[in-house]
């Protein structure tokens, strides 16, 4: 069962390989994404986030979801030494974490409905569970930063979360909170690990850090990173090495 839904300014794909997962489970996940969009969108004037930004809603009055997300954002800000910051430009923009968090939650919902083998993709953020078929493993391509229809690397995984931050798509403008400028040095930073909530935010923070972000991610238990540098190198941490699809034939 495959469902693609335009929501959150992107398209969310839910691909369930198990038989017998009720349609209602997928409907529930899709409804969840629309709810997240309505609550967190910085493009919607009436969203909770927009109202907090304008000072119309106090943080003590916000919903449990917003409270949770703001807490998670503060945690990543602290752990990244300020390389992840949702308070830029005077407003509030937690979108560097919300998408990953919402997909992670949706994956948990689907698992609660009995789904065991599926993936969810949302604008470049991916969660995989179980297996695509038989004994195969999920293959997650890491987009080539300059060629939209190509991948630069392929990861193989069972249960995994993968998020990539970069400056190559219009619409995403990552700013280094320390300088107020766009980071230089990297074209993209991919982070893989157990939770997409953190992978998404860590990818944003590590992209800001540049190549140093690799060492930062490597120091976080369970998380791995792969960077594509502006001078066209691909650099990755030892943990990522285990996920990279390797050639089956010897080079020559």
């Amino acid at each position: 069962m495959v469902r693609a839904e335009p929501v959150m300014g992107t398209v969310v794909t839910v691909d369930i390989r198990d038989e017998g997962v009720p349609d209602a489970a997928v409907d529930g996940a899709i409804a969840w994404f629309h709810e997240v969009d309505a609550t967190f969108s910085t493009y919607r004037a009436e969203s909770e986030i927009s109202r907090i930004s304008r000072g119309e809603l106090g943080r003590s009055d916000c919903s449990a979801e917003v409270h949770e997300v703001l807490g998670l954002c503060a945690e990543v800000t602290r752990r990244s030494g300020g390389c992840f910051d949702i308070h830029l430009g005077g407003g509030l923009d937690p979108s560097g974490l919300v998408k990953g968090w919402s997909v992670q939650r949706a994956a948990e919902m689907l698992q609660g409905s009995g789904a065991r083998n599926f993936f969810i993709g949302a604008g470049g953020d991916v969660v995989t569970r179980g297996r695509p078929a038989g004994e195969q493993r999920w293959r997650v391509g890491i987009r080539h930063p300059e060629l939209g229809d190509r991948v630069a690397a392929v990861l193989e995984a069972g249960d995994l979360a993968v998020a990539t931050s970069g400056a190559y798509e219009r619409g995403e403008h990552i700013v280094d909170p320390r300088t107020g400028r766009a980071p230089v040095g990297l074209l993209s930073m991919t982070v893989a690990g157990p939770s997409l909530t953190y992978a998404d935010a860590f990818a944003t923070a590590a992209f800001v850090m540049g190549e140093e972000g690799l060492a930062w991610v490597a120091g976080i238990d369970g998380y791995h990173a792969l960077a594509i540098t502006a001078d066209r190198r691909m650099v990755w941490t030892p943990g990522m090495e285990m996920l990279l699809l390797r050639a089956t034939s010897p080079p020559g």
């Binding site: 335009p6 953020d125 300059e146 970069g166 190559y168 995403e172 120091g219 990755w236 050639a247 020559g252």
Partner: protein, 171 residues
């Protein structure tokens, strides 16, 4: 100076190891010159205005102009068949030059003519990792991939365009 980062000291950085390969950016040939300079970082994304980020600002070496060794023929993918030698680029790790063979619109081989050596001062470069990319470049075109991770498409126009395509697909 940037504020202090929570980066572990050098020991951890070294232990982090970090494999490195060069990333090939193969491009659709332009009208002229007739060869594809495989590693040319000519059109960096406009949203990535990094004058310091091109290969250390090093211009292509003299005498390393692209040399097509086969008659290019158009293919459906926009890639012409032939063997194309890229320009040489230099950075602090050394020179890099590749040759790409294209057949039937697909890359069928990538040869490293020059590549950075694993010198002590460039310990993050793994020379063993370089051939890996060659395999992966080839595999990327044929491996069955379930999902793609990339920087976010987040624009209302994008979503609207996808929606219209979905509408057509349903019609």
């Amino acid at each position: 100076m940037p504020s202090a980062m929570p980066i572990r000291p050098a020991a951890t950085l070294a232990a982090t190891a970090i494999g490195v390969v060069l990333l090939f950016a193969f491009r659709t040939p332009q009208a002229a010159p007739p060869a594809t300079a495989v590693t040319t970082p000519a059109t960096s994304p406009s949203s990535n205005p990094t004058p310091t980020a091109t290969p250390s600002g090093a211009p292509p070496l003299a005498g390393s102009s692209p040399t097509p060794t086969a008659t290019p023929t158009p293919a459906a993918s926009g890639l012409r068949s032939g063997t194309f030698t890229g320009q040489t680029y230099s950075d602090q790790y050394g020179n890099l030059q590749v040759q790409v063979v294209i057949s039937g619109g697909r890359i069928t081989d990538v040869k490293l003519l020059q590549y950075p050596r694993n010198e002590p001062q460039s310990s993050f470069i793994s020379s063993q990792a370089l051939p890996l990319l060659r395999e992966e470049v080839l595999q990327a075109q044929s491996a069955k991939i379930d999902a793609i991770s990339g920087a976010t498409f987040t624009s209302e126009n994008y979503a609207a365009s996808v929606q219209s395509a979905l509408d057509l697909a349903r019609a």
